[in-house]
């Protein structure tokens, strides 16, 4: 019974192997995808090799077993034989599996060694995980940004219909060039995460305080989706990875454009220091920032999760101590899940979100916080 199951399964898997050439993920994908790199293809081949060897072993073992179950039944009048050992047979079934293992180990070792050689890279990206987002920094360029889940909370709470890329979409994907060896340096700001893109066969843990390496070379332009693979706390299921591979010219244009945008934003920041924003503007920007950056822990209603994440609604810091409030948002609190948002958000966003926290949910302090107040704390004043 089980052996036929495996047989059917084998044929099913080989059918999908052909059907799965398109990038579109289908509802009934049964098998590993071949991916889009030389390495991921090798990994897929190894997987299939292992699978077929395992099916063959299963067929033989279960075949013999089911034969005995049918033909050596007492109800068919079977009389028990008296043998209970055989040195020859026992040696054979120790040695033969051994030889099969060698057949598996040799190609596996070859692929493994190729996978772990991240030398001579053309582009290097520093990937940093934190609860619950990824940060990308192009090491040889002037560009870095955070990448957050873009699925609306209403979809997760079943209030809106779920989109096609539900939970597999981000606001700012990582962009890499095709045909180039891209090296990833992977680390973490807090707990262990794991950066995984199945189509590249790259999965590497992001360990706080240590840097891991991985690499890929993608030949086809496209959008590739993955997820964090290591349990990293409450929203582990909500930190996807999206990578866009563009051909080198487009990639180059994209990077230059982004660099220019980031440079310009920094200049704008300086101008902001001399200006005062209105309460309305601060509150509306603040609400948006709060919901993307803070609500995961402190919850949309500001009440936090008792015993895990503190409430901001009615908290002493949000009602009274403004300098401490700015400080904790900018610099975080070490030894806790409270991150330093100073490097993640702009001055304007920081000012807005702090203002929001001091006035939302009945906190009503009436305080406004301006970019220059935040800047002062950042510069240690």
């Amino acid at each position: 019974m089980k052996n036929t199951l495996y047989g059917v399964l084998g044929s099913l898997l080989s059918v999908t192997a052909f059907a799965d050439s398109g990038a579109q993920k289908d509802q009934y994908q049964l098998n590993l995808s071949k991916g889009v790199t030389d390495i991921s293809g090798q990994v897929y081949d190894l997987h299939m090799l292992m699978f077929y060897i395992c099916v063959a072993i299963a067929l033989v073992v279960f075949g013999v077993m089911f034969y005995a179950m049918y033909f050596h039944r007492k109800s068919r009048g079977a009389k028990p034989a008296h043998f209970h050992e055989s040195v020859k047979v026992e040696i054979a079934w120790t040695v033969v599996p051994f030889i099969i293992l060698i057949f598996m180990a040799v190609p596996a070792a070859k692929t493994l060694i190729a996978m772990e050689d991240s030398s001579k890279a053309d582009v290097t990206v520093l990937v940093t995980g934190s609860q619950w987002k990824w940060h990308y920094k192009y090491m040889d360029r002037d560009l870095s940004y955070y990448s957050l889940l873009a699925t609306q909370p209403e979809q997760i709470q079943n209030k809106f219909a779920k989109g096609e890329n539900y939970l597999l979409e981000v606001d700012r994907p990582l962009v890499i060039p095709t045909g180039k060896k891209v090296r990833f340096l992977i680390t973490s700001d807090d707990v262990i995460h794991s950066w995984w893109v199945p189509d590249f066969a790259v999965k590497k843990d992001a360990n706080p305080g240590f840097i891991n390496e991985a690499w890929t070379r993608v030949d086809q332009p496209g959008i590739y989706r993955g997820q964090c693979a290591e349990l990293c706390g409450k929203d582990h299921g909500f930190m996807p990875v999206v990578v866009i591979a563009k051909d080198p010219a487009e990639y180059e244009a994209w990077v230059s454009e982004q660099e220019a945008i980031q440079r310009k934003a920094k200049e704008e920041e300086q101008k902001l220091l001399a200006m005062n924003m209105s309460m309305e503007e601060l509150m509306s920007v603040g609400e948006r920032v709060y919901n993307t950056s803070c609500a995961a822990c402190h919850m949309p209603n500001g009440e936090g999760l008792p015993g895990v994440f503190p409430a901001l609604k009615g908290s002493d810091m949000a009602l009274n101590d403004m300098p401490a409030h700015i400080d904790i948002v900018v610099n975080g609190k070490s030894g806790t899940a409270m991150q330093a948002f100073g490097k993640q958000l702009s001055l304007k966003e920081l000012a807005a979100v702090i203002t929001y926290e001091r006035n939302a949910w009945g906190n009503n302090t009436g305080d406004t916080v301006q970019a220059k107040d935040v800047n002062a704390v950042m510069n240690g004043q």
């Binding site: 089980k2 993920k25 509802q27 009934y28 994908q29 990994v43 292992m50 072993i57 299963a58 073992v61 279960f62 077993m65 005995a68 179950m69 050596h72 079977a78 028990p80 034989a81 008296h82 043998f83 209970h84 050992e85 047979v89 026992e90 079934w93 599996p97 051994f98 598996m104 180990a105 596996a108 692929t111 493994l112 996978m115 997760i156 096609e164 539900y166 939970l167 597999l168 807090d190 707990v191 262990i192 995984w196 790259v202 999965k203 843990d205 706080p208 305080g209 240590f210 891991n212 993955g226 693979a229 290591e230 349990l231 706390g233 409450k234 582990h236 299921g237 999760l305 015993g307 895990v308």
Partner: protein, 528 residues
């Protein structure tokens, strides 16, 4: 305590305390075995209820029933309860009942420690379960409690988690010492090492594994405790520690631990298959050697759980090859069982049904284990539902099925009555079908890319998850049939059985009367 002491001395006069006191003060291996088995069953149902919560949440994409933080507590506590509360105590219960009866000893060697090792267990689990009701909830970092998620980033309930794991560990170590001392010193005259039933052999080796690795677990939880509450930095790079070192320590315990949960199962299957094949076990000696080599190898494969942590290539190759090697002695076991059946005279009573299901389904789990051993492919499988499928095949349709096989096999000896065979067959077939609906599709969604330990998932995984949840509910309900069979049996309903119970059963436990009297082998039998 004084009553217990007295009664330990004048047991044979049979003024046993009755009612609850009998159970609290008992030093009788059969009573303690029963306590362990009931405790394990209750924990199996409690852990199972948590699995139902998990599967209900995963029935559909989106968050419906529980919050992510509570979901993580459910996966964590489910794992801890099933491993430390259900599977391990069930095997200890079986060892208590059976080891003395199989080697012709009157009781366990250290009966009062035996009482103690059981009675601290309920407290460990009350503490663990109570932590779920703390502000902030119970442990939410997975049963593997990787630092720093379990240290800097965990809730205050971590202290209770650590305390309860310590108690579980002490209990296991005491149980293991008892098994070793009993087997070493109390075998009946003529019961030489190579005449011992395989269940006794596998438990002896398991007990050594327990003594070797439970202290390592205790060390790991203690370091978590001091990192979290007392300012040490074993696992914190900022203070010169290393979070990956936690994983090395944990899996140095963890991998032998998985063999702790399967070696006694190998022993059980090696008792049952010969009985219902009416033929001696094939390759007895090679079974003993295979068990020993599995146990030794289990100490040098731990890092196969850590391939993605960024080890040097040489280490990855070493652990890949060592892990592949383990499948050789594991294969020998399976081949021996099949060879035992070959040209036997087979019948399919309920214990045999479970044993056969074990052989097939455990082998499937072993083969997916072999696939997982291949490092470059493990990068794709790791931390996906493929791994979840693998370890549930070896643990549920492996270890748990073997425990059920054992209960059906020895229950008539314990109660003196045949259990309700019709109900038991219902239990078997419902469990067999639902366990596969539950765990087989997990291979597919794992390969298709669904990570484990997530409360919500992308839409392409929706259909299989629905089936998995349906299988899960069906498997959960099927265990209520088991409960019914066992309750009926405990009420001594059913046909009386002979001393041998099963035609073809051999061994000392089948030579004593059914039901087994409260005291057996007060004068040792002579084994020829």
């Amino acid at each position: 305590m004084s009553t217990a002491t007295e009664h330990a001395h004048d047991d044979h006069h049979h003024h046993m305390p009755t009612g609850i006191k009998r159970w609290i003060f008992t030093t009788n291996h059969k009573d303690i075995g029963t306590l362990y088995l009931w405790f394990a069953f209750i924990m199996f149902l409690v852990g199972g209820a948590m699995a139902m919560v998990i599967r209900a949440e995963l029935f559909q994409p989106g968050l419906q029933i529980v919050e992510p933080n509570f979901f993580n507590q459910m996966t964590t506590v489910h794992g801890l309860i099933m491993v430390f509360g259900a599977v391990m105590p069930a095997f200890t219960g079986l060892a208590n009942w059976l080891v003395p009866m199989m080697i012709g000893a009157p009781d366990m060697a250290l009966p009062r420690m035996n009482n103690w090792s059981f009675w601290i267990l309920p407290f460990a689990f009350i503490i663990l379960l109570a932590s779920l009701f703390m502000e902030g909830g119970g442990p939410a970092f997975g049963w593997t409690f990787y630092a720093p998620l379990s240290t800097t980033y965990s809730g205050d309930s971590t202290a209770l988690f650590v305390f309860s794991v310590h108690i579980m560990g002490i209990s296991s170590i005491m149980g293991a010492i008892n098994v070793i001392v009993t087997i070493w010193n109390m075998r009946a005259p003529g019961m030489t090492w190579m005449k011992m039933p395989l269940f006794v052999w596998t438990w002896l080796i398991t007990a050594f594994l327990l003594i070797a690795v439970m202290p390592v677990l205790a060390g790991a939880v203690t370091m978590v405790l001091t990192d979290k509450f007392f300012g040490t930095s074993f696992f914190d790079a900022a203070g010169g520690g290393d979070p990956v070192m936690f994983q090395h320590i944990f899996w140095f315990f963890g991998h032998p631990e998985v063999y702790i949960m399967i070696l006694p199962a190998f022993g059980i299957i090696s008792q049952i298959v010969p009985t219902f094949s009416r033929k001696k076990l094939f390759g007895y000696a090679s079974m003993v050697y295979a068990t020993t080599s599995i146990a030794l190898l289990s100490f040098i494969v731990w890092a196969h759980h850590m391939f993605t942590t960024g080890m040097p290539v040489a280490a990855e190759l070493f652990f890949m090859i060592a892990t592949m090697l383990i499948s050789v002695p594991t294969g020998v076991k399976v081949f021996n069982w099949v060879a035992t059946m070959w040209r036997g005279s087979l019948t399919f009573e309920v214990p045999m049904l479970f044993a056969l299901a074990f052989i097939v389904l455990f082998t499937i789990g072993g083969l997916s284990g072999l696939m997982l051993a291949i490092t470059p492919v493990d990068f794709q499988y790791h931390d996906t539902y493929f791994v979840v499928a693998h370890f549930h095949y070896v643990l549920v349709s492996g270890a748990v099925f073997s425990i059920m096989a054992a209960v059906y096999y020895w229950l008539p000896k314990w109660t003196g009555k045949m259990f309700d065979v019709t109900l038991a067959k219902w239990h078997f077939w419902c469990s067999l079908i639902s366990v596969n609906v539950l765990f087989f599709p997990m291979h597919f969604i794992g390969l298709a890319g669904m990570p484990r330990r997530i409360p919500d998932y992308a839409l392409q995984f929706a259909d299989f998850n629905k089936w998995i949840s349906i299988g899960g509910f069906a498997f959960g309900l099927s265990q209520l049939i088991f409960l019914a069979v066992v309750i009926k049996a405990c009420r001594k309903q059913g046909e009386p059985v002979s001393d041998q119970v099963w035609e073809g059963a051999e061994g000392l436990e089948w030579e004593i009367p059914s039901p087994a009297p409260y005291h057996t082998f007060e004068t040792p039998p002579v084994v020829k």
